[in-house]
Subunit: 247 residues, 2 copies
DNA sequence: GAGTGGTCTAGACCACCTC
DNA sequence: AGGTGGTCTAGACCACTCC
């Protein structure tokens, strides 16, 4: 028979759909433009709505689309670079950093953090919540865990709770000499509270940056930062010579 | 009426299911253990299979589970840290690095890479494909784009194609003095060819690391590395003092 | 209230792996 | 051949936003 054509492995519909949509986004749509609704798109492509959604989900994961319940699906702007910690050492909350201190409470850290702090798993630590804004949008939330041993000056302070207390913890932390830091990035999904602050639904994909700060020979603090994965590209201002950046 | 109870926003079933399963994984399963199949789990929890799958997908995204078609769903080991470029400058392919050179061809780079290379968008460059193994498993694939201008010594070489040629390109590249590098991390989904090499399905979530190498005042090379997001935690051997690491 | 995306169902068939 | 996860369908209802 004339079956010279290799059909190989049949490409899933949603995968093909994704490439078709992706090409259409490049050529026929502009940033911010609103797409037809899911029911119409599904009908237009002759697939079930669930199949279409599978394609849209992937495109959203890649930062090509933005979907908002009750509103619609829009073409996302290119991801913007968010600088995550410079090559040089610096404490969180340094005068020039991009974070706003939001709150502070005493609590036992999650087990994974406690393991890095070399204290008992249930020892309460200062837990400072911060938020990072870029272009007027929240792009990240952070929990900074500071053991009592790192900020002895805080013992006497009677906590003007909230953000003021958080700033006080940071101030005390800055008295230590920072000896080193260590950073890791992994994929996660937004917890309910993070999601609310990031203006996303629970479970939305996020990039979790864990930073460990060393001082006085021990881990003096641990920061867990949660970045929106759909809109952010994390950049590391590594070791690019200044002279080059200008040219 | 006695409606003192705030029911607030009803938690989606799959979300609740996810936390139940997550707790069960912690307490009742061991790494590598195989879970009941999806149809049985769905029946056991009284939900449709699609709903159960939504929960499993999230757990897989978080690196808690591993699913393989035709085999089953197993409890994943904790993510392992993969060191991504040290604080110090170093060319790709340095004697101690973790990559294996697989192949090399001449081709025009993707538009996003071409934009960084300050050559015409259609100028062919050396495209070296490499693979990174850890614990016997492929964890990343990489495409390294090297403009002809960066490796003038290659013009005469008549290409013993394949990996040998790739190694030759790297050797030539090392003759340049590396002046700086710049790195970015973002979320992506595996293209078909990457997926095959990473032993995943197309569309699987990956962490894309883009590294730009500067030499002689220009971008001498660009590497696009694609890491499995489910199994890897990217670590940056930043600036931790050696003395501390020993303790 | 109308329209959007988000959740959920109960089926079906397919591709892949193992025996 | 039998069992697994992956894809797909055609519906339904819900939560949210905007008018």
């Amino acid at each position: 028979m004339g079956t010279t054509q290799v059909d190989a492995v049949p490409e899933p519909k949603y995968w093909h759909l994704k490439t078709v949509l992706s090409d259409a986004l490049d050529s026929e749509f502009t940033v911010g433009e609103i797409l037809p609704n899911e029911r119409e798109l599904a009908a237009r492509f002759g697939v079930a709505r669930a199949t279409l959604r599978q394609a849209l989900e992937q495109l959203e994961l890649e930062g090509r689309l933005q979907r908002r319940r009750g509103v619609g699906t829009t073409v996302a702007p290119p991801r913007f670079g968010v600088d995550v910690g410079p090559g040089e050492l610096s404490w969180p909350g340094a005068p020039d950093d991009a974070w706003q201190t939001a709150d502070c409470e005493e609590a036992a850290p999650p087990a994974s953090v406690a393991a890095m702090l070399s204290e008992g798993p249930d020892a309460p630590v200062h837990s400072v919540r911060r938020t990072r804004m870029t272009h007027g949008q929240p792009v990240a939330t952070e929990m900074l865990y500071v053991p009592h041993a790192s900020v002895p000056g805080m013992s006497g302070i009677e906590s003007a709770g909230g953000s003021a207390r958080g700033r006080a913890v940071l101030r005390e932390l800055h008295r230590l000499e920072l000896e080193g830091q260590e950073r890791a990035v992994e994929l996660g999904s937004a917890r309910a509270d993070d999601a609310r602050q990031l203006d996303r639904l629970p479970g939305a994909p996020v990039l979790v940056v864990t930073t460990r700060y060393f001082a006085q020979g021990v881990t003096a603090a641990v920061a867990v930062s949660t970045y929106r994965a759909d809109t952010c590209r994390l950049t590391f201002g590594d070791t690019a010579p200044v002279a080059l950046m200008a040219g």
